[in-house]
Symmetry: C5
Subunit: 155 residues, 5 copies
């Protein structure tokens, strides 16, 4: 049985994050990939919902968030919609947002994109194909975008 | 087959943004246009929803946002409603909001209006008529309102 | 054919804004008016929804917002509910909120109330009885509460 | 005919506000009271919804809000849920939240609790049993928690 | 009759909070436990909803919130989703979020985790198995994470 995973990204992003996700998902021979591109992050939720209603098992909603206050408000609205789409479909949408304010410079921003998209593409696959793999890492301080924080060690 | 696109704007805006959208959409002979005007931006969501329930394939929700904090709160509430309307109809509503705080002066504000409305009118058409055209621009740093940021170039 | 319009106001307001709305609506012989009063602004949304479900074609949700930060949060929650009620009923609810922080003093606050309620009562009527009249004013910088801003004039 | 009113409060609150509400409701012989206690304010919405789905005509959602920023965020989330529960049931839930930041000291906080809970318990009863009584006080500057502001007097 | 309680936690957390919840729930012989682990806190709501739709009587949604502003926004979005999932299922989801900003250091953070998770695991059990036990503590200033505040004492 194959798993159908939707990859939705934007023309707004300055990095082709959708292709990064697809490259990771293609490592799994039982993953079928559907890609859709929308203009901006507020268009992700309904695009994901349509894919999930159409048979996808999970989606990645991938966006780059500009540096201004209005961009942050947009990101919040986009994520609220992604939340609603999940509850309406009973399926996971992993929100993969990279905020320009997280990065020191473009190189750093690019590295965050690669790290976060790749790890969350694997997470999306595991959520539908092998959730037990995630359970093994409960409370392990996993991070997407930077190195893992790791589990807390109390002396 | 024709595509039916709703254009909803406000009497609050100081620029006739709805007509700018229609001018762009009329370049596409297979686009049928329905225009509705409401008082303010918080009235856009239900007006769009009614158009989408009535057969429109996509909508443009067009507004100008005043400079005060209360205006920004209104814009957030309006966008939350537009998000909900999309999820309830499984159709795209492109939110085309121009904020007075984005502009240096009225001329600049007008230019942002023309640029953003025109580009998003094309985006609305492409979303329903030719989504593959958007996919070609995934991650290309497209902007509406100003010049494109373009894709990131890492040396 | 008559249009049934709901007027919902609060006991919290310090001005009888509901009566101001009714005075304006009564100028239109084809408007049937139903009035309901609730304690505060967070009670408006469900009261409007009940009226719309019960046959009203549109509603006015009328409130005065106190000057404290908690009042603003309440207003935001109230407006989110009004947005939801519109999407659930496919009918317009015009949110007519007057914030104490908008005014210099009580006289100014009263004038804003009269201006905003009266103009939005007419808007509510036009939305259901004569939407073409609103279309004529698209982008004309209409305001409720103060004088119109008017359309932008670029030299 | 009797009116069934739900009283939902929390173990978090430092005052037994639910009992204050019940004491007021018991003055009305046609009010049947159902009480439920949940851990915190974010648990109120679904508890109220279950009561309303189960036959209650209205609910009081009663909470005390701690003094920290995170408490205020919780209160906002709780109120958003209460708003949603009202729209889903077409019934009123009066949100009776007392914020520690409103009070100068514990005695003051207690007085606010008594005043707000008592008045809103009456409001909940009137909303279902005698809404005309609320209509008489439209725009009269009624307050819960402190003395009424009263109607505006313009000289 | 047994009670089925879902425990949903994250790989993001730096403490295995899910296991702490299970340890507490296992003290009750009539509690059946289902555990699911998701990547981050915004994935909790739909995971809980799926468990509740699948027969769980209540859920614990357990997360650790990072110290940055973006983490707080995520937590707010996650809690809004948890609220929605409760209203859609008519079942309780106890949100058990521990914020890094609450703690002075890692040891303190760990102690908060143990205290909050344990107490809320008991609360989840009581909500479905013995709600009368919660009613006894109405207004008693119960806290999860720190010592109880206790009921207010007015001299």
């Amino acid at each position: 049985m194959n798993y159908k995973i939707g990859v939705v990204d934007t023309t707004f992003a300055r990095v082709d994050m959708g292709s990064l996700a697809i490259r990771e998902l293609e490592k799994h021979s039982d993953a079928d990939i559907v890609r859709v591109t929308v203009p901006g992050m507020k268009d992700l939720a309904v695009a994901c919902k349509k894919l999930l209603d159409g048979g996808c098992d999970a989606c990645l909603a991938i966006a780059m968030v500009g540096p201004h206050r209005l961009d942050e408000t947009c990101a919040h609205e986009a994520n609220a919609g992604i939340m609603g789409a999940q509850l309406m479909t009973n399926k996971h949408i992993l929100s993969v947002f990279v905020h320009e304010v997280e990065a020191d410079n473009d190189k750093d921003l690019y590295d965050i994109c690669v790290n976060r998209v790749t790890k969350h593409a694997l997470n999306a696959y595991l959520l539908v194909a092998n959730p037990g793999e995630l359970a093994k890492n409960a409370g392990m301080g996993k991070r997407q975008g930077r190195a893992d924080a790791g589990p807390m060690v109390i002396e």
